[in-house]
Amino acid sequence: MDLKRTVKFEADRDPEFARWISHTVGGERIRHCLQCGLCSASCPLSLHMDYTPRRLMHLSREGFKEEVLSSAAIWLCTACYACMVECPKKINITHLMYALKERAIQEKFYPKRFPIPVMAQQFSRMVRESGRITESWLIVRVFLRSAIWRLLGMSGLGWKLFLTGRMPARKEKIKRKSEIRTLLASVAATRKELAL
């Protein structure tokens, strides 16, 4: 068996990360977390998670950035909000999951060709281009960049959907596409100005 060091040194912590999580939108109450695990237990995805949501809450507030951002768990969250509704300390867990994903993407903290971030990026790219999403094209794009083989596996279904008119080839787009570009530009500018 291969043994690895499990002890953690203070040097392994990233205090900035801890500060960030508790100041980010939705992170207001993370320090109140009781570690009761109600979030994990109410989470339909937790049974696949390497770190349960409860552990992520604690690891984040303690600043164990590596563990948190490289965990598979943050990508499993489907934003069903079950945890958030029940949390006895009213912690905005779902939103924190979003924040963690955003941070992980910014800092490239995910396995190459890992479909979920690819999906997110392609999604945003498509919105930037045409203001709307055309699912058929989105799926194609995602799998081209993550798991081509699955595209083949899917093709049977894809064909069925195409036949039932649920996979239109025509791209959806809005009329005033320029508005989207201006909108995004403005957001970027303000973010820069306020260092958000």
Binding site: L34, C36, L38, A41, S42, T52, E86, C87, P88
Partner: protein, 672 residues
């Protein structure tokens, strides 16, 4: 009633001589306020003869310091800048009194609670303190010597609530020779404790230790026990409260009923049809019933809601036959109002348990085999609906039982507080259930809280007994089986936070350890007795540490869980404390009232009568011959509403005279 405005020993013949004393309170004040600067500044104010600072003004040396100056420097006014007057005004007033200076020539400045503890910026805090001290110096110069009013105390005591707290307080007082009125809303005393089977951690049976005390109450010559009764109205003041009690009709003449219960056997209902409140609906009772075998008083009750005679008037009245010569049953009985006079009041109105249905995801009320902890207390109780047999609704014994802690506790969605007793009673129930059924038992807890004598040891014992402890708050109880082994069971879903994964545990019975809540009518009760509640709705004690059973209303004390979640030992201790406080007051025979009463200067009164309706205590009357209003000092409680309302400014309030307040206003605002 002595005149409250007698002159003092420290006379003003040689002008106003003020001493200002600034307290460091260790670093509590000195840490945020520049006390030295304050005293230096105070020394420059008109009338100030001396200004000093000291580490702890309230300590003996601190007081001695003030007393010394009063003697040596012939001070006749004192300003103490320290903590809240509500904490130490009495202390410093006594200090003045002991050296013959009238206690009311003191003015306190609250620079701890109102300054150093709430501000961070030292210069700003110091500036604020300067203003407040200036105001006090200006004000104190106007102070007049006053005398507290001494009024006699009525020695009898009213105890509200017949749970273990009320019972213990009542017995303590009665044994000390005081007459006690014990008023209980239910038909019997005993409260929650009477419902329990055993008590943690000693496991002695609740009935064995409670029922003797209950009978003692019932038979004590000095205790007037009024069950099935409620307090309607409270008036008067400390030492002399007038209380109106409503006695609901139980349709039984208590003095004639022997408690033989033949009427119950004779009732036309062959067996019970109505929800049995005492057994929380786990059994049925008849329209005529005794709440439980050991009830005190041993007098039956008739429930007009379900009694045929009341509904149709066409009942055979077999009960009356059965009662025969005793003639104890009276369908015509009406509610009665009792007027009593007492000197002090002890509130022991207890708590209610959290309504488990509010946590929908635990399936209480949806799944028959989800019980509350209190229901299980009845189930395992030898005198309970199953005579102690712990069985499911279908009569079978559970093979696996899940006990869920913190239901309605530590949860921002319901109650944020920890209910304090649930961990221990859950352990107790776990032990008893295991003992009776040998079932596998799973405790789901967030933190195991066992502070108390013998409590942690009891926890150890449970661990030895092989009870499972899963650290995690349960997300849901469902019947939805994700695995063949779960079919037909209640499945509890929780994260085992110590193992760090989610577990699904199938059980036959779920016990919800419901938390403690204030009584639903706590707000109404506190208004009735003129006391305060905490935000959560628990009765507010005068001081969390130093006056835990007193309230801000003189002569009204609180005991037991009405003040906050508490187990039996703590409750009994508090009940004793409340009884002692009441005794101390009663045995003094007299109580001193603050002299903050209002008085009318006849020459200025225009006789417009506008003050008379302003007084809620009917203390103001109109003297026809003089055409002037006059205030009865005994009835006046010193709110000052009439003073502010008098158009001719002819009413004044001791210690809060217009001039005193104007000077304080101008003092705090005058730019330094």
């Amino acid at each position: 009633m002595p005149d409250t405005r007698r002159p003092t020993n420290g006379s003003d013949t040689d002008g106003i001589r003020i001493g200002v004393y600034v307290c460091h309170c260790g670093t509590n004040i000195a840490g945020t306020v520049d006390v030295k600067a304050i005293s230096e500044y105070a020394a420059t104010l008109p009338g100030v003869v001396v200004a000093r600072t000291y580490k702890y003004m309230c300590s003996d040396p601190g007081q001695a310091l003030i007393q010394q100056d009063i003697r040596d420097l012939r001070l006749n006014r004192i300003v103490v800048a320290s903590c809240s007057p509500l904490l130490h005004e009495p202390t410093f007033r006594r200090a003045l009194d002991r050296v013959g200076l009238n206690p009311f020539l003191l003015q306190m400045v609250n620079i701890r609670e109102h300054v150093s503890w709430v501000h961070l910026d030292k210069p700003a805090a110091t500036a604020k303190t300067n203003d407040l001290v200036r105001g006090a110096v200006r004000r104190v110069a106007r102070h007049k010597p006053l005398q507290k009013r001494r009024v006699p105390i009525n020695p009898s005591v009213l105890v509200v609530g017949g749970g273990i707290a009320g019972i213990h307080a009542a017995l303590t007082l009665a044994d000390a020779g005081k007459h006690v009125y014990l008023v209980e809303r239910e038909p019997t005393i005993g409260g929650h404790m009477a419902k329990f089977d055993k008590t943690f951690p000693t496991l002695d049976c609740a009935a064995c230790i409670l029922t003797p005390k209950m009978t003692a109450v019932g038979s004590h010559p000095l205790i007037t026990l009024w069950t099935y009764s409620e307090v309607l109205k409270v008036s008067g003041y400390v030492g002399n409260y007038r209380v109106q009690v409503r006695r609901k009709p139980r349709y039984i003449i208590e003095d004639l009923c022997l408690g033989c219960q033949e009427c119950i056997t004779a009732c036309v209902y062959k067996e019970g049809k109505t929800r049995d409140e005492f057994n929380l609906g786990l059994s049925k009772r008849k329209p005529v019933y005794l709440p439980f075998p050991q009830a005190v008083p041993q007098k039956v009750v008739i429930d007009p809601e379900t009694c045929i005679e009341f509904k149709s008037g066409k009942c055979k009245k077999t009960c009356i036959e059965a009662c025969g010569e005793r003639k104890a049953i009276d369908f015509k009985q009406k509610e009665s109002l009792e007027e009593i006079e007492v000197g002090t009041i002890i509130l022991a109105t207890g708590f209610t348990t959290f309504n488990a249905a509010r946590n929908a995801y635990y399936g209480y009320g949806r799944y028959p085999n989800v019980y509350t902890s209190l229901e299980v207390e009845r189930l395992i109780n030898a005198s309970g609906p199953t005579s102690g047999e712990l069985v499911l609704r279908d009569g079978t014994r559970p093979k696996a039982v899940g006990i869920i802690h913190c239901v309605g506790s530590r949860d921002a969605n319901t109650n944020r507080w920890c209910s304090k007793v649930c961990c221990m009673y859950s352990l107790k129930l776990a032990h008893l259930i295991k003992e009776r059924t040998g079932a596998d038992i799973f405790n789901f807890y967030i933190d195991m809280r066992t502070p108390g004598k013998g409590y942690e040891e009891f926890y150890d014992r449970l661990l030895d007994e092989g009870v499972h402890f899963v650290r995690g708050r349960v997300a849901e109880v469902t019947e939805w089986a994700a695995h063949p082994s779960e079919k037909g069971k209640l499945i509890i879903r929780a994260e085992d936070t110590l193992a760090a994964f989610v577990r699904r545990i199938p059980v036959d019975m779920v016990v919800l350890s419901v938390g403690l809540e204030p009584q639903p009518d706590a707000q109404a009760v506190r208004r009735l007795f003129n006391i305060s509640c905490s935000n959560e709705g628990w009765f507010l004690e005068r001081h969390p540490k130093l006056a835990p059973v007193s309230t801000f209303t003189e002569g009204v004390y609180i005991a037991g869980a009405c003040q906050g979640p508490k187990d039996i030992p703590d409750t009994v201790a508090q009940a004793g404390a409340a009884a002692a406080e009441a005794l101390a007051l009663v045995d003094a025979q007299f109580v001193e009232l603050e002299p903050y009463t209002a008085f009318i200067s006849e020459e200025e009164c225009s006789g417009c009568k506008s003050c008379i309706p302003l007084c809620p205590y009917q203390a103001i009357s109109f003297v026809e011959e003089k055409k002037k209003a006059t205030i009865n000092e005994v009835l006046c409680k010193g709110c000052g509403t009439c003073v502010a309302g008098c158009p001719s400014g002819s009413i004044q309030q001791n210690f809060f005279e217009d001039e005193e307040i104007f000077d304080e206003i101008e003092g705090v605002l005058a730019y330094a």
